[in-house]
């Protein structure tokens, strides 16, 4: 059996006295959608930040194995190398688009390394040398394809900051996908979306999976999580409290206790559907 795509072992992250992630181990398999869920402040985003190189873990290992067998120890790499060499892409809980640049420009910036493999080629491009023109034609084509997929082609020349919220979320995913990742990490992509938009998002993630890109998903919208996940990891207080397929997790008393015990009422982040019907009802 081949090794899992992502193997997290004993990951610990401390901020001063606060242990946000505590000896966490889990794995994400190739070609699957793996969800990470848990109450607010459980440490989900922190795990993402460790995987994508924004935080340096206090201890523990994160290994990523490419289809060709190349292994990357992510905890040792700087963020931009993780994106470029290990090919892990991500989105952010608070959308981080280039608001003053157009939708198309956002997608071209994502293909920066394809357009400009090194500084010399970047400088040659000023004089029209080094094949920048041809590369840009390909990059624009790719961007156009993604815009078509997320139905934003008509808005390609509008500034990203002027898009409605739902469109911005999808654009951020498209931008991440333009880096041609093997693993896509999404931090609450359905937050703030209406039910129709959430459905469309779930469909989009399914097609991304079908294209061969594995997905790691943080999400509070249990409807989406239960519908599309192959595998779910549940965190609470930085620790794994449950791990398995949706049916297993849904029935796990630990999970129910964690959610009910943590007081959903005062967590404005939890989507209404989850808050009113209990966290796991939407999918049952």
């Amino acid at each position: 059996m081949d090794s899992p795509l992502l193997q997290v072992t004993d990951l610990t992250m401390r901020f001063g006295g606060l242990t946000a992630v505590n000896a966490l181990s889990f794995e994400a398999r190739r070609g699957e959608i793996t969800s990470v869920i848990g109450p607010n402040g459980a440490g989900k985003t922190t795990v993402f930040n460790c995987i994508t190189g924004f935080y340096r873990p206090t201890s523990g290992g994160i290994a990523l194995t490419h289809p060709d067998g190349a292994v990357f120890q992510l905890q040792t790499l700087p963020g931009h190398r993780i994106a470029r060499r290990a090919r892990v892409a991500r989105t952010f809980q608070n959308i981080r688009l280039f608001a003053g640049m157009t939708v198309l420009e956002n997608l071209l910036v994502a293909q920066h390394n394809a357009l400009m493999p090194n500084v010399a080629s970047g400088l040659l491009a000023v004089f029209g040398l080094g094949g920048h023109g041809a590369a840009e034609v390909i990059a624009i084509d790719r961007a156009r394809g993604w815009l078509d997929r997320i139905n934003l082609l008509p808005r390609a020349d509008d500034p990203a900051g002027a898009l409605p919220y739902g469109d911005q979320r999808r654009l951020e995913i498209a931008r991440a996908m333009c880096t041609a990742p093997v693993l896509l990490c999404l931090d609450e992509p359905a937050a703030g979306l209406n039910p129709r938009e959430s459905d469309a998002l779930a469909e989009l993630l399914k097609t991304i999976q079908a294209d061969g890109c594995s997905v790691l998903l943080i999400e509070h919208d249990m409807g989406v999580v239960m519908r599309i996940s192959d595998h779910i990891v549940v965190l609470d207080h930085g620790q794994r409290i449950s791990d398995g397929d949706p049916a297993h997790v849904r029935a796990d008393p630990n999970v129910i206790a964690a959610y009910l015990g943590e007081g959903d009422e005062d967590d404005p982040d939890v989507p209404l559907a989850a808050a009113s019907d209990g966290p796991l009802a939407a999918a049952s």
Partner: protein, 304 residues
């Protein structure tokens, strides 16, 4: 050894002056997040005000030096505070909440205005003043090298500590201090909770300017000469001190000031006087590279 002790005394004196100016930078930065570029020039204006006041008092025939100094301190701090208030009102308040570079350019403009105002109104020539407090005590005499602690240095250090004491009380134990800290945390929220943010910010400038004027008086006493250009270099060094101490931290500003004063004095004493500013700035660069939040600054891992 004796030589080093002498440098230590001189460095602490100088450091106190830098520390006083640095407090103004750090307070303003803490509360509205801008480099008040004109602050060094307020210090320069404070020095001029002190000069004018001391001359006036001697023309008026006041012969008691302590009384003259006390009056000058109050006068210079008071008028400089008015400068601080006006500058904020005229050059910064209309730009609050706008584009980040605009207040910086406005501050640079204000700094140019103050410098040239002083030059035009008081002349470009260096202004010397006769030493007011001569003499001192000889601490020790090692092989012919006498370690001097002048009365002037004692006066400077004591006054600075007293002023800083009053000031610390003001910002830590009064409602004003609480409002300032609230505005530092979250200006909008503080406003919603009924704190008059405009007034708090104004007061921050007023206090900073008054402290800078005290530093100006000390500078005048210590060096005995001033000109309209002293604000720039002293300002940059004081800002360096504020950054070194961790910007936003008041004890840090004083500590940073002492550090810069000591570095400068020791460098001048043991290496070269010409490059003393280079030493101070290089320290700034080195500290920032290895300790990006300064000595006492809060570390903030950027939340993503």
């Amino acid at each position: 050894m004796a030589y080093a002790l002498q440098q230590l005394i001189n460095g602490v004196t100088l450091g106190m002056i830098y520390g006083l100016i640095a407090v103004g930078y750090t307070m303003v930065y803490g509360i509205i997040g801008m480099i008040n570029f004109a602050h060094g020039d307020v210090f320069m204006i404070g020095a001029f005000l002190s000069l004018i006041s001391l001359t006036l008092l001697s023309v008026l025939g006041l012969s008691s030096v302590p009384l003259a100094l006390a009056l000058t301190l109050v006068f210079a701090a008071g008028i400089a505070a008015l400068y601080g208030w006006t500058i904020e009102r005229v050059a910064y308040r209309p730009l609050r909440g706008s584009f980040r570079l605009a207040p910086l350019i406005s501050a640079i403009g204000m700094s140019i205005v103050l410098q040239n105002f002083a030059q035009v109104s008081q002349g470009a020539r260096v202004k010397p003043i006769a030493p007011l407090i001569p003499g001192g005590i000889q601490l020790m005499n090692v092989e012919g090298f006498a370690v001097q602690l002048s009365w002037m240095q004692i006066v400077i250090v004591v006054t600075t500590l007293a002023v800083l004491g009053v000031f610390t009380y003001l910002v830590s134990a009064t409602p004003l201090g609480r409002s300032m800290r609230a505005c530092e945390q979250d200006q909008k929220m503080a406003g919603l909770l009924g704190i008059d943010t405009d007034k708090t910010i104004s007061l921050t400038f007023v206090i900073g300017a008054a402290l800078a004027a005290v530093a100006g008086l000390m500078f005048l006493l210590y060096y005995g000469v001033i000109d309209f250009f002293i604000g720039f270099v002293a300002g940059v060094k004081a800002f360096t001190a504020a950054v070194l101490g961790g910007i936003g931290s008041l004890p840090g500003a004083v500590l940073g000031g002492l550090a810069i004063g000591l570095i400068e004095t020791f460098w001048s004493a043991y290496f070269s006087v010409q490059y003393k500013d280079v030493a101070a700035f290089s320290i700034l660069v080195i500290v920032l590279i290895f300790l990006p939040t300064g000595l006492l600054g809060r570390t903030d891992v950027e939340k993503v």
